[in-house]
Symmetry: C2
Subunit: 365 residues, 2 copies
């Protein structure tokens, strides 16, 4: 199975992308990684590693979509790594596309070259929200800031299929983000979507409030891309604030410094006990590390597309490749198409050709 990796996408590209490619090529049997981008640069980066015998190949793409560039630039740059990579998937020469480039750019490229799955109104960017008793698939997180109710129903359907196939959950619980639990709560979008989800045949459990998300009340949580984006970035910011704040407060001031110094002998005496906790501490760190989740699937385009975090390290890139591999192995796209057929609210009429629909690409954030 060939997996395309966008060598030019990401805050730390191409260096860490190549590092991640090498890790993935070593660790996952049965895949070949196709590095797409400026060949000379890729070769230079690869030269830092011993790649003898590793299933790595290069496809040259002369242009680069920068981190702040969106739809217009992607449309123009037909020979960018994003667009060349997408066409490899479109033409059946690769099974999946992985990029840590800007999500708006990747989405635009996917819409231009792969197009949407027949019947899908809008693609959705799904992310794994880790701060709950079991991980949650949250979508949309930025692709559609002002979706229509039927988009959200499709997101719920696609999210359900994804979680069933990738996480092995059967009949996962679907919730919609709202400002109250009762059925009459929500903004206009939520109140209009609610009855559609009830009639969707999905395992819809109703409205979930912010606190319900972290309680794990649903496995698949749908929301508009504006709210989803704010939720994810606020959560990241809050954890980061708490760590920084506690550190600054506890290590600032003479009294605290003296206190911490006085605690050193005790802390040393705690080491034997602490050693026993290491497996648990490792598990906690792993659970909370975004790099373990390997990126967000772009659901609804006609091919496996995984968008890794812009600030991905090599491990995150490697895990994004793993997620792409698993999505291909589980026939994700076929499963999503099958799932859509079971969704009563999908319109049966043919959609406008997704690849060229300017509205869709323009809406990409």
């Amino acid at each position: 199975m060939k997996i395309v990796l966008d060598a030019m996408g990401g805050d730390h590209a191409p260096g860490v992308v190549i590092d991640g490619a090498v890790l993935a090529a070593r660790e996952f049997p049965g895949i070949e990684i196709v590095l797409v981008g400026q060949e000379e640069i890729i070769r230079t980066e690869l030269a830092r590693h011993d790649t003898t015998g590793l299933p790595l190949s290069i496809v040259h793409a002369s242009e680069v979509v920068e981190m702040e560039e969106h739809t217009e630039a992607v449309k123009r740059k037909r020979d960018s790594s994003m667009r060349v990579g997408m066409r490899l998937v479109k033409d059946g020469r690769a099974g999946a596309f992985v990029s840590a480039g800007n999500s708006g750019g990747v989405m635009a490229a996917a819409l231009f070259d792969l197009g949407r799955i027949r019947g899908i109104k809008r693609p959705a960017l799904a992310t794994v929200y880790p701060a709950a008793p079991t991980p949650i698939l949250l979508l949309d997180m930025g692709a559609n800031t002002d979706p229509k109710p039927e988009y959200l129903v499709q997101f719920a359907r696609m999210g359900t299929t994804y979680v069933e196939r990738m996480w092995g959950l059967s009949n996962p619980r679907v919730g919609i983000v709202s400002n109250g639990e009762e059925a009459d709560k929500g903004n206009i979008l939520v109140r209009e979507t609610y009855p559609l989800l009830q009639a969707s045949g999905l395992n819809f459990i109703g409205n979930v409030e912010g606190k319900d998300v972290t309680r794990g009340m649903a496995d698949v949580v749908v929301t508009d891309g504006f709210t989803g984006n704010v939720m994810v970035k606020l959560s990241e910011g809050l954890v980061s604030f708490l760590v920084k704040y506690l550190k600054a407060e506890l290590t600032g001031g003479t009294l605290n410094k003296a206190g911490l110094l006085l605690m050193v002998p005790g802390a040393l005496a705690m080491i034997p006990g602490l050693l026993l906790l290491i497996p648990t501490l490792r598990r906690i760190a792993k659970r909370m590390d975004y790099a373990e989740y390997g990126g967000a699937p772009l659901l609804g385009v006609d091919g496996v597309v995984i968008i890794a975090h812009g600030r991905s390290n090599a491990k995150a890139i490697k895990n994004a490749v793993r997620v792409a591999k698993e999505a291909v192995e589980s026939s994700m796209i076929t499963a999503i198409k099958d799932g859509l057929k079971r969704l009563s609210v999908v319109e049966k009429s043919a959609p406008p050709p997704g690849a060229e629909a300017p509205g869709s690409a323009a809406e990409a954030c």
Copy 2:
């Protein structure tokens, strides 16, 4: 100065409300607390305390708005503690109204009996968001799930006045919650509001993402009531999840239990150092304790109304009374009215009488 306290409102009413009233009456000079509610019940609760000489009085109200009751019930229950209390403020017999009852109910009562400030389209519920380098005033957090752009500009204006008067900040920075920093990011509402805020004469710094809120990039952060509500409840849920998760992980399993046991001697040896950290630990706990912030001001109604958390304890009730006292002392309502006059986008035509506008009360969540 008389402050009305809704004795019947809150998850733990009337017990903790009376406890909080007694604390406030003892601590804050110059105020008289008017307990509104069912007189016999209030007298029974007061009998648990020594109230000799304390400035506490009772005004009987026969009806109670339950925690799940909203606009319709509030409209019908003209002799509820909420409505009787609001009329005391309306008639100038008290300076402020404080309740830990359900926010939708309090808002409806405020709209029925106090009405909106002339020119204000919709009131907003403002809350102190503590997880940032300096506290942030976040509004709206649930009053308006689908506001119009001009409402958000008024929220920004009222929030600015509140922060200037209550926190002593001059020319506070105003941001609008968005899914990206750039001016073209946001949902339709945000993109339409952005230029109005730029032209408002306020210290508008632009879009703030979820992570920017926790970085303290703005002092006043405006958003629609849907997003605001999700942000606050998600933050509460996330902190609660982290605490529970770490505790469960670290104390579960034989190995961890043995490890923790082995750490006891070391932990004991750390006590002297820990003692020096106590002032800091206290400050952290205080900073993160919702009860310290004393409730959310309902801005835009024609009187000081403070809504305390439904699960308020006595300390939270006491602090809500303090916030009400400070709002009265700083002539908050007059200041908001003055601030509105300086806002270029306010329509000059007379608004429909706020007190009876069914749309406003119906929208209360």
